[in-house]
């Protein structure tokens, strides 16, 4: 979904809609919500006669967008388990802070990760390059 569409969604008055219902939305707004809902959440806005179904859908969409923006940058591979002290972490409960601390202690453990931020990668990748040069 494009940034422009997300910005248009964010510009809709969600607070007013939650108070007054769907009457605050224009036909164009409703179409936008329908399309965004289908595109991001892969289902249709619920069909009912309630007066706030578009408002509810907008709340869901904004919460989804917020969650996606705050997503962790470090992701473990499926099945990978790492330990920090007595605490164990999988991709479900790993935070970026924990991942950073873990990789500081175990720099060779990058193989357990599916995703590591680009800015962290060069430091890891420089090592093998240097050793190759020495061998030559």
């Amino acid at each position: 979904m494009s940034d422009t569409l997300i910005q248009r969604l964010q510009s809709l008055d969600v607070i007013k809609a939650m108070t007054l219902g769907d009457c605050v939305f224009s036909v164009e707004d409703k179409t936008l919500i329908e399309e965004a809902y289908q595109s991001l959440l892969h289902r249709s806005v619920r069909r009912c006669n309630c007066k706030s179904r578009y408002a509810d859908a907008l709340v869901e969409l904004l919460s989804h967008i917020k969650k996606a923006n705050n997503m962790n940058k470090y992701i473990l591979k499926a099945g990978a388990l790492i330990w920090l002290g007595d605490d164990c972490y999988t991709r479900h409960n790993l935070t970026d802070e924990v991942a950073k601390r873990y990789l500081e202690l175990h720099p060779d453990a990058t193989r357990h990760f599916e995703s590591i931020p680009e800015e962290e990668k060069p430091a890891e990748e420089e090592k093998p390059k240097k050793s190759k040069k020495k061998g030559e």
Partner: protein
């Protein structure tokens, strides 16, 4: 992975006053063997299964007598005996997506399945059992019968020629293993 090559017994069979419930829990995971990145195993206990980037396992949920027919059988061979491991499950799912993405793939693929035993074993270290590690689970039978309520499809996958009767999945504790088991299911987000 260690095999009992000398075929010498080093364990007795005792009796126990603690209950040993039979069967499997209602959820298992099936994984394409091609999607596995690494497996760490000592003797017959796997401590780590990691999938390749972007890959995940798929949940198989059952109702009623879960995974009925799933078993291990010894097979007498000309040049050595082995184990056949049979995994059986049913599906009530129908539709184009499940037909193409699951049923058709089962025909020719090679899989690993992780079951959760109802009997978790001493110290809960035998809760999760793995089929397909050695030679892979492959299609044996598949039946689609639209008249059967709750089990429109029945599949049997078999791992033939295995040398280990049981392969367990255990990472430090039951809780940690359960967490790792669950994390096999989610695709990359």
């Amino acid at each position: 992975m260690a095999l009992n090559c000398d075929a010498l017994i080093s364990q007795a069979i005792g009796t126990s006053c603690t209950p040993h419930p039979a069967g499997y829990e209602k959820r298992a995971i099936i994984i394409n063997k091609a999607d596995i990145d690494t497996i760490t195993i000592v003797d017959n206990v796997i401590s780590e299964i990691e999938l390749k980037s972007g890959k995940s396992g798929y949940e198989i949920k059952q109702q009623g007598k879960a995974f009925m027919g799933t078993k291990v059988e010894g097979v007498v061979g000309d040049y050595g005996n082995t184990w056949n491991k049979t995994a059986q499950f049913v599906s009530c799912e129908v539709g184009a997506a499940v037909g193409l993405g699951l049923y058709d793939a089962l025909l020719n693929g090679e899989f690993l399945m992780i079951f959760e035993n109802k009997d978790k074993g001493t110290g809960e270290n035998s809760a999760f059992e793995v089929f397909g590690l050695e030679t892979g689970l492959k299609f044996a039978t598949g039946t689609g019968d639209n008249s059967v309520v709750g089990a429109k499809w029945t599949f049997t996958l078999v791992e033939e020629g295995a040398m280990m009767s049981n392969v367990y999945y255990y990472a430090t504790s039951y809780t940690a293993t359960k967490a790792a088991f669950e994390s096999l299911l989610t695709p990359a987000t």
